[in-house]
Symmetry: C2
């Protein structure tokens, strides 16, 4: 998939390439100083050998630059968002299960091949930087980015930089226990926020409740599939299924509580919600209603709360590319 | 009260004065680069007119410099920790109820009178900086300072600076709701951590329970006083009173939960406990035991947890002076 877009009068020095490296696809694009994406390219990920995937990444970058109609000389650098654990200093992917990567020297490999400076970062961290630089976090001095998807995690931007904490675990509120003796979490804990509100949790809750005999349109879906998915639960809720709505509402209340705790600890200007679940309207409505209710009840939280405190990501389908581009663009801004 | 101490071979350029401005006393001292306090001076606070209190502060500073046996020329600056709301940029005490202050231009008044640079800061923020520069936070790049006293609040140091948040409310976990329909908090909320674990909360819980007929040595104390104090409850617990111990243990569990949340959000190298209640052994033991238990149950928290994660303040009686001194000393380090 390639897309041609006009890149006429932009200052060549302000162009960067953002690459979103995922388990199924690699998306690349040339990003200008205004956060516009040019020459979007998407290639399937070949998860056989790391070298092969790296070559696909190089092909995507090269193709994006060509499609955007600019020269290599006009590109200041390449940012790459990669799932899993990343050594940012060395530019090494320490572990990316979906890519089958362990200790892959992404930065040095790409810099040698392309002759361009490359920055590598965990994809969720990159998304937080993207929101800060190009999204609804523009102009803020601090923000919390809360991803709601197959996992739940917060990332924190302070004064233009990701705050990582001592062990890279700052913002791991997804693994705070929100329900004593609650459902098992994939981390090994019990009743973690993630085990209550992430996609797989919604699916499992719905499945268990349907199997226990509760009436729901999901019964028919489950009859045709071995397992329910979060997408199916969200679709049923959209269609008005009461059980699905209840499950999503309960998850939203847990997320609202997390937002309240993040607000009281970080006092951010904005909390941006990203990830697949953030696009589910019923969930967002529950979160907004519940956060507003908490502000009514708590005078201190009320001082932090405002109607634009909790916002949906503004980056949508380009979030991955823009987040990755921010790794170079933000770095340059800090050096100025 | 004055104290003479040797100040022999210190580099004069490394000396600062720290002033702890409290509702009942003003403590000042000359602090060297090693965090040693010289020429401690303590004067009673005269809470009549701000001008009078400012003159007492000037007298305390002058006396501390004289007592330490150094010249004004050897002092690089004066730091002042003041309770309540402070405009750090302008050096104005916006509101200090215990001092009877509102919009007092502390910095400009003192700089004119002394001819020395003065920095002003909220006293709890100053204490956090003191821990970072001179206390158990030395050598860390981030720490959380949790004060347990008449209030409960966290202050956060990141890369040598206080992280304040957008409204100066970062770390206000004392006003997170830890018990639905819990006791009324002075903030206007219900069931806040502070309403469950601060000094006045312990006193009130003990008083209510004794009045409801529970057996306790505090019954005799309450017969002689109109109200119980946190000190009386802590003393009874030390003497083995079961009710007092139960109340303090319950408070400790709430504090442990706050530490767990602060750890999962900030991932700090150390969480330093200060304030009067931090000196209560039974409380500290409960906190340490409960935090360790949480680490056993949660694999993610276990990655953050270590045996020195939660530490008692190392500054003790000099905390106020050293915290205030850090306002100048830390500032100078940042400029280097």
């Amino acid at each position: 998939m390639q897309e041609q877009s006009a890149l006429a009068t932009h200052d060549p020095g302000s162009l960067v390439v953002g690459v979103d490296v995922g388990g199924t696809k690699i998306a690349a694009g040339v990003v200008d100083a205004q956060g516009q994406v040019h020459g979007r390219v998407q290639l399937p990920t070949t998860a056989s050998q790391p070298e092969e995937t790296l070559n696909t990444i190089i092909a995507a970058i090269t193709s994006a630059i060509q499609t955007a109609g600019v020269s290599f000389a006009a590109i200041r650098g390449v940012g790459l968002g990669i799932p899993g654990k990343v050594d940012v200093e060395q530019g090494i992917s320490l572990l990316a299960v979906n890519l089958g990567w362990r200790d892959v020297s992404v930065k040095s490999h790409l810099e040698t091949a392309l002759g361009l400076p490359c920055n590598v970062e965990n994809d969720v961290n990159a998304a937080a930087m993207g929101e800060y630089l190009y999204g609804v976090g523009q102009g803020t001095s601090n923000l919390v980015y809360l991803i709601l998807g197959t996992g739940v995690a917060a990332r924190i931007m302070i004064a233009g930089q990701i705050y990582r904490g001592s062990n890279g675990l700052a913002g791991e509120i997804g693994h705070a226990q929100f329900a004593v003796d609650g459902p098992q979490c994939r981390c090994g804990g019990k009743g973690c926020l993630e085990a209550l509100a992430a996609g797989p949790a919604l699916a499992q809750r719905a499945q268990e409740t349907v199997r226990s005999g509760a009436p729901s349109s999901l019964r028919a879906v489950l009859a045709q599939h071995p397992k329910l998915t979060a997408e199916q639960v969200c679709e049923a809720a959209r269609q008005g299924d009461q059980l699905a709505r209840q499950i999503i509402t309960a998850a939203g209340q847990h997320v609202a509580h997390a937002i309240y705790l993040l607000a009281l600890t970080y006092d951010p200007q904005v909390i941006v919600l990203g990830g697949g679940l953030a696009q589910v309207e019923i969930l967002m409505e529950t979160i907004q209603t519940d956060v507003a209710r908490k502000a009514e009840q708590s005078p201190i939280f009320r001082e932090i709360y405002h109607k634009q405190l909790v916002r949906l990501t503004g980056l949508k389908q380009d979030a991955g590319i823009l987040g990755a581009a921010a790794l170079i663009a933000a770095h340059d801004r800090c050096r100025q």
